[in-house]
């Protein structure tokens, strides 16, 4: 088993209601499997991380600060001790919508 630290940013954190926690996953778990597990664990995240069998295009996933797009994308395996961050691009900074 591998113990990985999950970090949610911005709207993902709001939806999950948690910013950071540890989770234990089987060895050789991929980012896609991890995201599925997270969507099950946090129902409000359902459909926010995954689209079909891929990580959603707007979802940035970093493993130990490295963008998975440069690694093996959703097939990248997570290892014991990894920090896996999920974040959507931030919203902005000025107008109050009505």
């Amino acid at each position: 088993m591998a113990r990985v630290k999950i970090r949610f940013f911005a709207t993902y954190r709001d939806l999950a209601g948690v910013r950071e926690f540890e989770v234990e996953v089987p060895d050789n778990t991929t980012v896609l499997s991890l995201a599925k597990l997270l969507e099950e664990k946090f129902p409000k995240l359902k459909g926010r991380l995954i689209e079909g069998d891929k990580i959603r295009e707007e979802t940035k996933v970093l493993i130990n600060g490295r963008n998975i797009e440069w690694l093996g994308k959703e097939d990248t395996k997570v290892n014991d001790g990894d920090i896996v961050a999920f974040f959507p691009p931030a919203a902005g900074g000025y107008r109050d919508h009505k």
């Binding site: 440069w70 961050a85 691009p89 919203a91 902005g92 900074g93 000025y94 109050d96």
Partner: protein
């Protein structure tokens, strides 16, 4: 007359005093370069307020402030250029008035209009760089398209609560923002915003801009700088451009 003497002449004696503490950072030539530079700040809200203060403090020679909104009570927690007495005023005018008083040695132009397809080329065409101080992706991608086409530096900035991000785009050197981020991003109707985060993100955006302009330090062009105020971590994320990027001919 040497090159540096000529540059010295472009800064008045009072400006040399005003910028005395930052001349060791930029040198006289770098300071003169800032004076020669024009920057449009799109949005005069939270991010815009701090970006404008920082640009004006640095002595960026011309600043164009673009915003079509008026000041509201709920802006006052973070949009530090707008005060109680400004409620109801156009934000571009309220911001311009404060910035002119803050630094009378620079040129400040207020454009009290929303940036649209109609005015984007005209506004962006007459500045050297554009700073993002927006709340929506539609206008950011409009800036990106026009700035990339006109070969203007564009620094994207966005915040969410205690978090934020900055991406500097330099046409010809980096991909455009539309290639580095998904093409269809939507903005939530309302998002949390506090002044300290806005100030930090605006500061990062302005530092990245002046590094590109003056050549000091190590630019993060094409990278996403992510600030996490919960942990005080700053990450620099290598973004991967989409294949067949629209900006690559």
């Amino acid at each position: 007359m040497t090159f540096s003497q000529r540059h010295t002449n472009r800064l008045s004696p009072i400006e040399l005093v005003r910028y005395d503490r930052q001349l060791p950072v930029f040198g006289v030539e770098g300071q003169a370069k800032l004076k020669e530079t024009s920057v449009a700040v799109i949005g005069a809200g939270g991010l815009g307020s701090f970006e404008l203060l920082y640009l004006a403090g640095l002595g960026v020679g011309k600043i164009v402030i673009v915003d079509g909104d008026t000041v509201e009570e709920s802006n006052l927690n973070r949009q530090v250029l707008h005060w109680e007495e400004d409620i109801g005023k156009p934000k571009a005018l309220s911001a311009a008035e404060k910035i002119r008083r803050f630094n009378p040695y620079i040129e400040v132009e207020a454009v009290p209009e929303r940036l649209t397809e109609r005015n984007a080329e005209e506004i962006i065409g007459r500045v050297d760089a554009v700073l993002d101080a927006l709340d929506n992706w539609e206008t950011r991608f409009l800036i990106d398209r026009v700035a990339y086409k006109l070969e203007k530096i564009f620094v994207h900035a966005g915040i969410y609560g205690l978090e934020g991000q900055v991406i500097p785009i330099v046409p010809g050197e980096t991909s455009c923002l539309r290639c580095l981020l998904p093409p269809k991003l939507t903005s939530p109707p309302r998002f949390p915003a506090i002044a300290p985060t806005v100030g930090i993100i605006a500061g990062i955006a302005v530092i990245e801009l002046i590094k590109i302009l003056t050549g000091i330090g190590e630019s993060n062009k094409g990278k996403m700088i992510v600030f996490d105020g919960y942990t005080m971590e700053i990450m620099r994320v290598d973004l991967k451009p989409r294949p067949n990027c629209v900006c690559i001919e």
